[in-house]
């Protein structure tokens, strides 16, 4: 079997991924003392929360990306799932595995209940209505404190979060939480994948593209739109339960409107209507929190604000030059790759792969940040010669678009025509 064989590459890729997720992320903090927090359990928790966001993003992408219904209210579903789990665990002593189902069911039921009035709404009107949900959630949670413990929140750290039997001796609670979250993320990704590829998923997409056409094909539009809401809410509910299990605490303000809006950002940046996009978006979103660890900002407000200001700028740049998100950019890279010679393809893929190996190896020996830098350098060095023309072309294309728009004309010549044409079509439709 030759090295360029797609199967082998894929196996290697998955092996790396598995190694990275299952060993390196949770365990590699067994490193020399004196390393900053980010290489300790802190990073494990960060990774666990990234898994939770992946769950939310998957669900939201099913609703918004595949079914075309916008939601700015997903924190309400996450909070519902989270509170269901927390109340059952803290006040009724249920074990974590047992609360997953009720969390999913209660949140899913809320999703159904929201999905029905949502049938009448679309676009910004739906965005407003769902955002109202996210706004209301903390207030409701604070007000009816008999059930929810009000503003003080619910603390649920306990025995149940320790791994069972001999595993418990091998991993800490945080590591165990991470594995639980990772497991949920993997399982739910597979479920999402199945939903999307199946009959239901095709119905979702047909409805998104044209409700009238979908109805004329015999699809029960209201039913599937409501189902999309419910499925999406189930994902969010499970995410909420997982969140409680990781953080051990939930309060009304854990999920505010801004979070909700950020969820939407996540899937657009990752790529709408893409499972890979949901995952990438969620992880990169989580990374923003961690940027402050890597920038020399010290402590205090600067460390809080600067990453988010940068994040804002990055958002603008990303959606401008990658209109279909990270998943769209990867698709374009694959297209580009498909037209390369096999030898070139090998180098192009081998570079990043070797880079990952180098990163892991070096960080095991000398520490995380150095490993990441070395890995980057290796990856870049190997792929540099081959990627350069494409990188430059890609960058200048984005730049050209930008400059063209700045010029006040509607883009540079050649660009103008198709854009204007589409403009005209939408005008004519009005």
């Amino acid at each position: 079997m030759r090295l360029s064989s797609p199967l082998l590459l894929r196996i290697l890729g998955f092996a790396f991924l598995a190694f990275f997720l299952i060993y390196w992320l949770p365990f590699s903090h067994a490193l020399p003392d004196g390393l900053p927090m980010r290489f300790g359990t802190y990073r494990t928790i960060q990774a666990s929360i990234a898994c939770v966001w992946v769950l939310v993003a998957l669900g939201l992408n099913i609703l918004t990306g595949y079914n075309g219904q916008i939601s700015l209210g997903h924190t309400a579903f996450v909070a519902t799932g989270g509170y269901t789990a927390a109340i059952l665990m803290a006040d009724h002593g249920w074990p974590f595995w047992a609360v997953l189902i009720p969390a999913a069911v209660v949140s899913g039921a809320l999703g159904l209940a929201v999905g029905i009035p949502a049938l009448r709404l679309s676009g910004p009107y739906l965005a407003m209505a769902t955002m109202a949900l996210a706004l209301a959630a903390p207030q409701v949670l604070k007000k009816y404190d008999g059930l929810t413990h009000g503003t003080q929140g619910i603390s649920v750290r306990g025995d149940w979060s320790t791994a069972p039997g001999f595993i418990g001796d091998m991993v800490t609670q945080d590591q165990w939480s991470y594995f639980v979250a990772l497991f949920l993320a993997v399982v739910m990704t597979l479920i999402a994948w199945n939903v999307i590829r199946g009959r239901v998923g095709r119905a979702f997409v047909a409805i998104r593209d044209s409700e009238v056409a979908a109805a004329s094909m015999g699809i029960n539009v209201p039913r599937y739109k409501t189902i999309a809401f419910a499925i999406s809410a189930i994902f969010a509910g499970i995410a909420g339960a997982a969140y409680v299990q990781i953080v051990g605490y939930i309060a009304p303000e854990s999920f505010n409107v801004l979070r909700s809006i950020n969820f939407l950002t996540t899937i657009v940046v990752g790529g709408l209507a893409s499972i890979l996009g949901s995952i990438l978006g969620a992880i990169s979103f989580k990374m923003v929190d961690d940027i402050s660890d890597f920038l020399p900002l010290g402590e205090g407000p600067m460390a809080e604000q600067v990453p988010w200001a940068l994040y804002g700028g990055l958002l603008i740049v990303v959606v401008t030059i990658m209109p279909y998100g990270m998943a769209g950019a990867i698709r374009r890279f694959q297209m580009w790759l498909a037209f390369r010679k096999p030898s070139e393809r090998r180098v192009a893929l081998g570079g990043p792969a070797l880079g990952i190996v180098a990163a892991i190896a070096v960080s095991e020996l000398a520490g995380g940040s150095l490993g990441i830098i070395v890995g980057l350098v290796v990856a870049l060095a190997i792929t540099y010669s081959l990627w350069l023309p494409a990188l430059v072309r890609g960058a200048t294309r984005g730049y050209g678009r930008w400059v063209g728009a700045l010029r006040g004309s509607r883009g540079p010549p050649g660009f103008v025509t198709s854009e204007d044409a589409s403009d005209e079509r939408s005008d004519a439709e009005r």
């Binding site: 916008i70 009035p117 009448r120 709404l121 679309s122 676009g123 910004p124 009107y125 965005a127 407003m128 209505a129 955002m131 109202a132 706004l135 209301a136 207030q139 409701v140 604070k142 007000k143 009816y144 044209s210 409700e211 009238v212 056409a213 409107v257 801004l258 809006i261 939407l264 950002t265 657009v268 940046v269 709408l272 407000p301 600067m302 604000q305 600067v306 988010w308 200001a309 994040y311 804002g312 700028g313 990055l314 958002l315 603008i316 959606v319 401008t320 209109p323 930008w402 728009a405 700045l406 006040g408 004309s409 509607r410 854009e419 204007d420 589409s422 403009d423 005209e424 005008d427 009005r430």
Partner: protein, 295 residues
């Protein structure tokens, strides 16, 4: 009865602020079908600039300067970050405005700190005026006055000036507008400039009430969004009326619902659910156009 009147009047005052920011949202929405989520933060930012400028200028001078600067800021934003995503999916443009949101709110915190500041140079003092049974602060009256003036001004502008007409035309049919010789891009820029100025007025009036601080416009923006939606999104008039309705509803819900299970803390929740109810009955708002379903 007097109590009711008082509550309605108070609601109208806050409602005017929501209405102003809603108006700003609508000015952008109707030409680009984009909700500018950065609207509130832009207003907050310009209000902070005003606060800084008040150290050396008188209030009304600063007020005028800030309106102009806000207009410039709006125009600049349209040119530099919105124009490049013109023609991209609407969600992308919305994400760009969210990016602006993050930039403005965080940069403001970096520059001016997160501490609430008293917006104390405010010349319209806290004196109250008695109108029949209703007692209103001068500030509240000023808010309503300005909201009304801006409404009338914009109405005259859009209805009776060629430039306003050109802007309305651009919002309806961009290609045909170009054939008329209208510089569509410039109209969009102008729309953003106007919108930012109107938003800046809202910011100047919010700051004395809630103290000047980076998150001060967040709740106002959400209410304004609700107001704009309630009004139908492409109707400036509807936006202001929507704002007033929300202001009054909020005030009444806070006062007249049972404290044990609703009351003031739930005013927001009840209000937004009333809005949802309205939307379910009229899916494009009270003054919105009926949209035809397209194949």
């Amino acid at each position: 009865m007097d109590e009711l009147l008082q509550q309605v009047a108070a609601g109208l005052a806050t409602g005017s602020i929501y209405g102003l920011l809603a108006l700003a949202l609508v000015l952008i929405y109707r030409s680009t079908t984009v909700i500018n989520f950065a609207q509130g933060e832009m207003a907050m930012f310009t209000t902070f600039v005003a606060w800084t400028m008040l150290h050396w200028g008188t209030y009304w001078l600063v007020f005028i300067l800030i309106l102009l600067m806000a207009g410039g800021l709006g125009a600049l934003i349209e040119r530099v970050v919105i124009r490049p995503v013109e023609g991209a999916p609407t969600l992308n443009v919305i994400i760009v405005t969210l990016g602006l949101f993050a930039i403005f709110s965080n940069v403001a915190t970096i520059v001016w700190g997160g501490q609430p500041q008293a917006f104390s140079h405010y010349p319209i003092n806290d004196e109250t005026v008695k109108l029949g049974a209703v007692v209103l602060s001068v500030h509240d009256l000023a808010i309503m006055l300005f909201a009304a003036l801006i409404m009338i001004g914009l109405y005259v502008f859009f209805q009776y000036t060629p430039l306003g007409l050109a802007m309305r035309a651009t919002a309806q049919n961009a290609t045909a507008s170009r054939l008329m010789g209208i510089r569509v891009g410039r109209m969009l820029t102008l729309g953003w400039a106007l919108s930012a100025s109107v938003g800046a007025v809202a910011g100047m009036f919010v700051a004395p009430i809630v103290l000047l601080q980076p998150p001060m416009m967040l709740a106002v923006l959400l209410y304004a969004f609700a107001a704009a939606v309630l009004g139908g999104l492409d109707s400036p008039f509807g936006a202001v009326v929507g704002g007033l309705i929300i202001g009054v509803t909020e005030s009444l819900v806070g006062t007249y619902t049972p404290k044990e299970w609703l009351g003031p803390e739930m005013a927001l929740t009840v209000t937004v659910f009333i809005i949802i109810l309205v939307l379910v009955i009229r899916p494009t708002g009270i003054f919105g156009k009926r949209v035809l379903r397209r194949v």
